[in-house]
Amino acid sequence: MTPIIETQSLTKVFGSNGAAVHALRGIDLTVERGEFVALIGPSGSGKSTLMAILGCLDKPTAGTYALDGERVEGLSGRELAGIRNDKIGFVFQQYNLLPKASVARNVELPLLYAGVPRKERRARALELLEMVGIPEKAKVLPAALSGGQRQRVAIARSLANRPALLLADEPTGALDQKTGHEVLELFVDLNRRGNTIIIVTHDLSIAAMAQRQVEIMDGLIKIEEAA
């Protein structure tokens, strides 16, 4: 079976000649289907850049990247948007929910961009909210929710199009320890159901919950270890 992620000598350079910053200096990373990987590293190590490229938010300067068997490094902005919509679910530290839309509509958003009809969208959103444990909050605005609940909404949203890959960037960074732990439990649970998850964190205790840790240092993979 093809791996979900397969990169070869991925590099990313910001700026040009004189003041060039080499954020990534040749990353070879393979993530198999169903894996739960933690991407760790201090700030400035390049892990956010790697995450952006893996999430098709940014393009690598050089190297190859195959997502779910499809080469994506040369795709146009529009095609990348399609891939993000179809194959990737994002969970951010700051939840990034639309404040003026109800919880249900936030969850529906990726389905809307995918062109799913209204009724189906509504049904799928409720199903997802059920899965993350807050079905009763469908009609409220995000502002009325606690941090943990908001992150659950964000997770529900990320799962809307049944993505091949779930990318979580410091998903518990803004939560207290207890809630953070509950959210992590949700990730573990999702992984058990077959979702491939990459979680970016600098917290080693969180990384410990993943099956495999990949440490990034100065734009290179320093250590890869399986738990």
Binding site: G77, R78, A81, L109, P110, R118, R121, R157
Partner: protein, 415 residues
């Protein structure tokens, strides 16, 4: 494409607008003022135009072709041919009608004189109107009491007269004019009818523009010819043809010019005046006001549009993160573009509606203050709306394009 994405965009835009009411109002101010200026200006000039149309209709209609005498000798001594020429005659009216009698709905002739008019109550020097054919109808007069001229009166140059309200007041202040005798010059004539008073005030409170029409003292034109200013050729001052059809009017006036010229020994001693064409031309000269109003509408829309772009660019900063999130979730640049455009167009639409309301109110106030009834051409609504839509669209393009071209990563990281 139409799976509800459009509906969703409109809904989102509506929420966005409502939540930022002050900002939205400021943004649509240019559109509101522009639409109000265009609609208000147009409806005021339309109202004036409509009013002057009413004036001409009340004067007896626009569908008339007047033929008048015209001096053929401009300078020097007249030639023999010019001297021998007979000028405008009753025969011209008769022959003119024969050109196309089915389209000519009425012919009248006029021959005026000035004479001393005496009644038991007054003795004045007055203008006398010699009327022939369908004069009363073609000049918009209605008989109030008694009767109008019969064909017999005109054919026999009967000594009869019809008076306007002012003439009745002057010569028969007791109000009983019909059946009594009036001396015009040395000729006693019997008053056979009186006319209804004619009133037209262009603006409320203004003087009656038809005041002088009530001064009329009409007698058969044949009587004028015979007893006052006449000659053997039955010359007249004016011949009027009533022709309702525009097409017939054009061909008729050409044919008439030919016939008259032949009758008048090839002398251009007459002048054709197509009343409708003249009024339409006058009205088209009023178009300059429309252009001024349009220009002021344009300018306020441009000014408002620039303000709008500024506000949009400022709010874009607040919304960059939101754009980033949407892009991360899979919205392509085109979708972001459409969302921004939808919002701008919705704003323009609502703004134009407000502008239409204000414009109508504005023109109501103006027309009421100058005393002319308000008339709004539905086309003005459509035009003002279209103009606003075009400007709204053009000015929304820049911010929408800018938003749609953001890099998702930079947008997400924007603080």
């Amino acid at each position: 494409m139409f799976n509800g994405a459009f509906r969703e965009r409109v809904k989102n835009s509506w929420v966005e607008m409502r939540e930022n009411l002050t900002r939205s109002t400021l943004q649509s101010l240019g559109v509101i003022l522009g639409v109000a200026a265009v609609l208000g200006g147009f409806s005021i000039s339309d109202s004036m135009r409509k009013r002057s149309m009413e004036l001409y209709v009340k004067m007896g209609g626009l569908d008339k072709l007047n033929v008048r005498q015209s001096a053929v000798v401009r300078e020097g001594a007249p030639t023999a041919l010019q001297t021998a020429n007979l000028g405008l005659r009753t025969a011209d009216a008769v022959e003119g009608e024969e050109i196309n009698s089915s389209e000519v709905h009425g012919v009248s002739v006029r021959k005026d004189a000035r004479a001393r008019v005496r009644s038991p109550y007054a003795d004045r020097e007055r203008d006398i109107r010699g009327a022939g054919g369908d004069f009363l109808a073609l000049d918009g007069y209605d008989v109030a009491e008694g009767r109008g001229f019969s064909q017999h009166d005109i054919d026999t140059a009967a000594p009869v007269a019809i008076l306007g309200t002012e003439a009745v007041e002057v010569f028969f202040p007791d109000g009983h004019a019909v059946g009594r005798t009036l001396r015009i010059g040395d000729t006693p004539v019997i008053v056979i009818g009186t006319l209804k008073e004619r009133v037209f005030r262009f603006r409320d409170g203004q003087h009656n523009m038809f005041r002088w029409r009530n001064r009329i003292i009409a007698i058969p034109n044949t009587l004028v010819t015979r007893r006052f200013e006449g000659d053997n050729y039955h010359r007249v001052d004016r011949v009027t043809f009533k022709i309702p059809s525009l097409d017939a009017m054009a061909t008729f006036s050409k044919a008439l010019a030919g016939v008259l010229k032949a009758n008048h020994r090839q002398q251009d001693d007459f002048r054709l005046d197509d009343v409708g064409a003249r009024i339409r031309k006058q009205h088209s000269q009023g178009d300059v006001y429309d252009i001024i109003f349009l220009l002021s509408g344009f300018l306020s829309m441009i000014g408002g549009g620039i303000v709008n772009v500024n506000i949009q660019m400022a709010t874009l900063k607040e919304r960059i993160r939101e754009v980033g999130v949407k892009m991360a979730i899979g919205a392509p640049g085109g979708e972001i573009f459409k969302e921004f455009m939808t919002e701008a167009m919705l704003l323009t639409g609502v703004g134009s509606l407000a502008g239409l309301v204000i414009g109508v109110g504005f023109s109501k106030i103006i027309t009421a203050s100058i005393g002319v009834p308000l008339h709004i051409d539905p086309k003005s609504f459509v035009f003002a709306y279209l103009l606003a839509a075009i400007f709204g669209f053009l000015f929304a393009l820049f911010p929408a394009l800018k938003a749609s071209r953001l890099s998702p990563m930079e947008a997400l990281r924007y603080e």
